[in-house]
């Protein structure tokens, strides 16, 4: 009988702090997030006759928009799939919290 070594080999994977280990955008429950162009932003605000202040918010640290390179004030377009009524759109303004 051979004595087993008390220390077992461990494999470590190094990940950058900014990249998430699991890519949430690939998850089926995470809808598509896209950055709105300046022109589209203007149009959106005009369509709803609002200022950016009236939009719902999203944290700039939100995992779903880490791949987008966003800054405060950007507008994110979220396309949600609805099994009953097709796609529905949602817009959020990026904030630093």
């Amino acid at each position: 009988m051979t004595a087993e070594s008390p220390v077992r080999p461990v494999t470590l994977t190094m990940a950058k702090k900014t990249t998430t280990v699991y890519d949430v955008t690939k998850h089926h429950l995470v809808p598509e997030h896209k950055k709105l162009s300046e022109k589209d932003t203007e149009e959106l605000l005009k369509d709803y006759s609002i200022t950016a202040k009236e939009l719902p918010k999203i944290l700039s640290s939100d995992p779903a928009i880490q791949h987008l390179d966003v800054k405060e004030g950007d507008i994110i377009k979220i396309t949600r799939e609805n099994p009953h009524s097709g796609n529905s759109l949602f817009y959020r303004r990026v904030t630093n919290g």
Binding site: I50, L55, P56, H84, S85, S88, L89, Y91
Partner: protein
């Protein structure tokens, strides 16, 4: 009510209300007042000299005088307190030897009137017209205002003890301000407050003044009102001088607007004395005067203040002055709040604590929750409810004694004078009579046997008669908890004998009412406008379709369902005369739709209630097709799915869609009565033998049970011999339990199937289940075959003794009967052990409901309050009161659920049913 009114005009000057010029009508100082008959309550101002205007316009223009543009909250400065005061209070005495208020006392006549007949010395108006006026006292030494100690502390900690500057280097001050302004602009006030807090938190630990290099010491509060700097106590005088040194621009960073709140104002040098109108004295029956708690407290303040003055002027030793000063601090503190920790509350001679300012406002009995958020109304009633299927669905039965107390004001007109005189003639004791007459000047007179002749004599157009409640009057009916809008609906009054409020059982569902002692409330709207509003928005008819699931919430229940089921399914032939007497008994007098045959079918009788051009395609509970063509049932029968309420009732939904709410209510009411009437004709009883099983079925059930027991025993045996492999993530014991549970549940289902197959389907008990009126197959099986496994939190019953449920079992016994399996049926009766198992789960579910109800109720309340001002705008977005978007399309699909059928729009059915 009137008594409360006087004390409610409190602390007005803390809040400065700015009226802007947007208000369409400014009230002129001495506007000529005019009373319009019937609109006495409204104060009116003539806008143009004697212009010809119709009344409605005048009333409309009056409704807006001024518009609130902004409200500024601040702290009263000593200067402002003196300026707004009408009297300086100098003596603790209240009345002189003749019982007359002392000048400069706490009941000074310049502070307002509380005695009828007297006039206010400040404004000259009488009781109830004068809202009262503040006074002030000069404090002999500064006093810390209890409610501001936290603010004072932060300012003291954040500023230099020597030079008074904020402990931020000069060059950074401007930057901090900029940051705050930016946050304010971008994210609003809440975020600014958070940022202010963050800045102050950092200042606390600064040891040296960046302006004058003075060393800073740590300051703490010694409860309740002292400030300690290291070991030394700071006197209020010192604190005040330090606060005075803080420049305005530094205050801004602390979040103080120095125009309305200088920090040194938080240390009081003068004290505002509230008007007597908010602390009226009451005269006892003995003629003795009893003062309000606030007056008592203020008396203490004034007395000690006086003593302190005298001692200072006489040059008394510092210890005595210090003691008096502390005592004054105590009295002022308890004047603001008598429930401060570390301070004994000031008490009456009887020992009960005084109710001072804070106690008046806070808690459930305080001004906010009791008087402002919790309004109470007159013209309402509450009592036990009971059912009455004969009154209409939108009626409410009101006991006569209630109808004689609840009244409706009717304005006397030339054309109804005689009619109303008859009510007065009958007086308050003969129904329908009248209780009060209101003169055009607003005086209310009670009608009695003595006064009624005079009242009739006097009566003329413009008078108002408060007559008894009568049939057809409008009432709002309500049952708590009022969780959805259907909890308050508008009904027509029907005055009935008896002592309970009566309602049609069809509306039990929206109110969630039953008759096991439930009580409900009734409100009688008093104005034409409120009655119109109630009729249009709250009528029972308008609430048939629930906005929750888009199906009718009001529908047939119980006997109405089983009756119509029997009629349309089982009665294929009945003599025409019998059909006619059935229809007559439910109020149908038109028989042209009934086929002119010797014998008619139940279907044909039922169909007479349907509109002639009605088409419908649907399914029954048993998934059999129903077809209605041109108002005739060509296939199928009625049951819960077509007629029921609470999320079924597809037939009703379709009738509503095509013919509107009024027709639906009428048809529903007739269906309801028809169902009950059919049962009265045929008889309907549920008996014990309804659930008798034939001998073969009984044997089958026994075999199934024996097999199951054997199977479980085999499982236990293989577990004991180690032959059971654990499921992934489970222990072997857990695996065994799961397997046993699976076997036993399968057993009950098998037995249920046997019952379903063998039970006599023509018994009335089975009919109730089949039609969906009451009960289900599981409950039938529990009565006929076996009750089944009792489960506690998804497991068999394990608790009780160590290793066993009851002491009659061996420890470690894993058999079904030792862990909550009830093999008897309810009809056969349970053994003591089985009964005990049933009691365990019964108690558990009782506890569960008792604990869950308040929790879910509170959760719902928070949700409802959070969403109360959300609104769907014309562009389909959902926005809150400030215009912020919550959803870009209501519910992501923009559907109004109340316009759908179960949340869906069934296009196929629309095509099928339109010709």
């Amino acid at each position: 009510m009137a008594k409360d009114d006087t004390e409610e005009t409190a602390e007005e000057p803390i809040v400065a209300v700015k009226a802007d010029k947007k208000g369409t009508l400014q009230m002129p100082e001495s506007a000529p007042k005019e009373v319009i008959p019937g609109l006495e309550g409204l104060e009116t101002v003539k806008t143009e000299p004697a212009a010809k205007q119709d009344f409605s316009q005048i009333a409309f223009q009056q409704s807006i005088h001024k518009q609130v543009d902004s409200i500024v909250f601040g702290v009263l400065s000593p200067k402002f307190i003196k300026k707004m005061a009408s009297a300086k209070i100098v003596t603790p005495e209240l009345y002189d030897s003749e019982g007359y208020p002392v000048d400069g006392g706490l009941m000074d006549l310049r502070l307002g009137v509380i005695d009828p007949g007297l006039r206010c010395k400040t404004c000259g108006s009488r009781l109830k017209e004068c809202i009262g006026h503040f006074g002030y006292i000069e404090l002999a030494r500064p006093i810390v205002h209890l409610k501001f100690i936290r603010v004072i502390l932060t300012v003291l900690r954040g500023t230099c003890k020597e030079c008074g500057r904020i402990l931020i280097p000069k060059e950074k001050i401007a930057k901090s301000k900029e940051l705050l302004d930016r946050i304010d602009k971008e994210e609003g006030l809440d975020s600014r407050r958070k940022a202010v807090h963050a800045i102050i938190e950092k200042l606390k630990t600064t040891a040296k003044c960046p302006h004058c290099n003075a060393k800073q010491e740590k300051i703490v509060i010694e409860k309740p009102t002292s400030f300690m700097e290291g070991e030394r106590r700071l006197s209020p005088i010192e604190v005040r001088t330090r606060l005075e040194k803080v420049p305005d621009e530094d205050c801004e960073i602390f979040g103080l607007n120095t125009k309305s709140a200088r920090p040194e104002w938080m240390i009081l040098t003068v004290l505002a004395i509230p008007p007597v109108t908010m602390r009226p004295s009451i005269t006892l029956e003995t003629g003795e005067r009893s003062e309000d708690d606030l007056t008592h407290k203020l008396g203490d303040v004034v007395r000690i203040n006086q003593r302190l003055f005298e001692n200072i002027n006489a040059g008394a030793p510092e210890i005595i002055i210090e003691d008096l000063w502390d005592l004054l601090q105590y009295h002022v503190t308890t004047f603001f709040d008598n429930e401060v920790e570390q301070l004994p509350p000031a008490r009456h001679r009887s020992g009960q604590p005084l109710k001072t300012l804070t106690e008046r406002i806070k808690s459930k009995e305080g001004r906010i929750r009791h008087n402002l958020a919790g309004k109470r109304t007159n013209f309402c009633a509450r009592t036990v409810i009971s059912p009455d299927p004969r009154i209409s669905i939108n009626e409410v039965g009101v006991p006569k004694i209630m109808a004689m107390k609840l009244t409706i004001p009717e304005v006397v007109q030339p054309w109804n004078t005689e009619y109303l005189k008859k009510f007065i003639q009958r007086g308050p004791h003969i129904y329908p009579g009248a209780n009060y007459v209101i003169r055009p000047d607003g005086r209310k007179k009670r009608i009695t046997d003595e006064t009624k002749e005079a009242a009739i004599e006097e009566l003329q157009p413009g008078y108002v008669v408060e007559r008894h409640l009568m049939d057809g009057d409008i009432a709002i009916f309500n049952r708590q908890p009022s969780l959805h809008r259907m909890s308050m609906m508008c009904h027509r009054v029907k005055v009935l004998p008896g002592r309970t409020l009566r309602l049609n059982p069809a509306v039990c569902a929206p109110y969630n009412a039953d008759f096991d002692g439930d009580e409900m409330n009734l409100h009688i709207p008093q104005t034409e406008e409120s009655r119109a509003e109630a009729e249009i928005l709250m009528d029972v008819q308008t609430q048939i379709i629930s906005p929750r699931y888009g199906l009718s919430i009001i529908g047939c229940i119980q006997d109405a369902i089983s009756g119509n089921y029997l009629l349309t399914k089982n009665i294929t032939k009945m003599p025409r005369h019998q059909a006619i007497s059935l229809l007559i008994s439910i109020g149908v007098t038109e028989f042209s739709r009934l086929p002119n045959k010797e014998e008619v079918s139940g279907n044909e009788v039922f169909a007479t209630l349907l509109p002639e051009d009605f088409n419908f395609v649907g399914e029954t509970k048993a998934h059999e097709p129903i077809v209605i063509k041109n108002g005739k049932i060509t296939q199928g029968y009625m049951d819960e799915v077509t007629l029921g309420g609470e999320g079924s009732g597809f037939l009703l939904r379709n009738i509503h869609q095509r013919y509107g709410s009024q027709a639906t209510i009428d048809i529903l009411h007739k269906m309801f009565k028809l169902g009950a009437e059919v049962l009265m004709m045929t008889g309907f009883s549920s008996v014990i033998s309804d659930t008798d099983l034939p001998q073969i079925a009984k044997e089958q059930v026994t075999t199934i049970l024996d097999e199951a027991e054997a199977e479980v025993n085999a499982l236990v045996a293989s577990f004991n011999s180690g032959n059971i492999d654990a499921f992934p993530g489970r222990s072997r014991k857990e695996t065994l339990e799961l397997k046993i549970l699976e076997v036993l549940n399968r057993t009950r289902n098998k037995a249920g199937a046997v019952v379903k197959e063998n039970l006599n389907k023509s018994t009335d008990t089975a009919i109730m289940v089949a039609s969906g009126a009451r009960g289900n197959n599981l409950q039938l099986a529990q009565m006929a075959a076996l009750v089944g496994q009792q489960a506690l939190r998804g497991q068999r019953i394990h608790n009780g003794f160590r290793g066993r449920t009851l002491s009659c079992f061996k420890p470690g016994d894993l058999s079904p009967e030792a862990h909550g399996f009830i093999r008897s049926s309810f009809k056969k009766g349970l053994s003591p052990v089985e009964f005990f198992y049933g009691s365990i789960t019964g108690r558990d579910s009782l506890m569960d409901t008792a604990l869950r109800t308040p929790k879910s109720g509170y959760l719902y309340r928070r949700l409802a309050n959070a969403m109360q001002d959300l609104k769907v705008e014309y562009d389909n977005t959902v926005r809150d009161a400030t215009g912020k978007i919550v959803q870009f399309m209501y519910g992501e699909d923009g559907l109004d659920v109340s316009r759908t059928e179960n949340g869906k729009i069934d296009v196929q059915r629309i095509i099928d049913t339109t010709e």
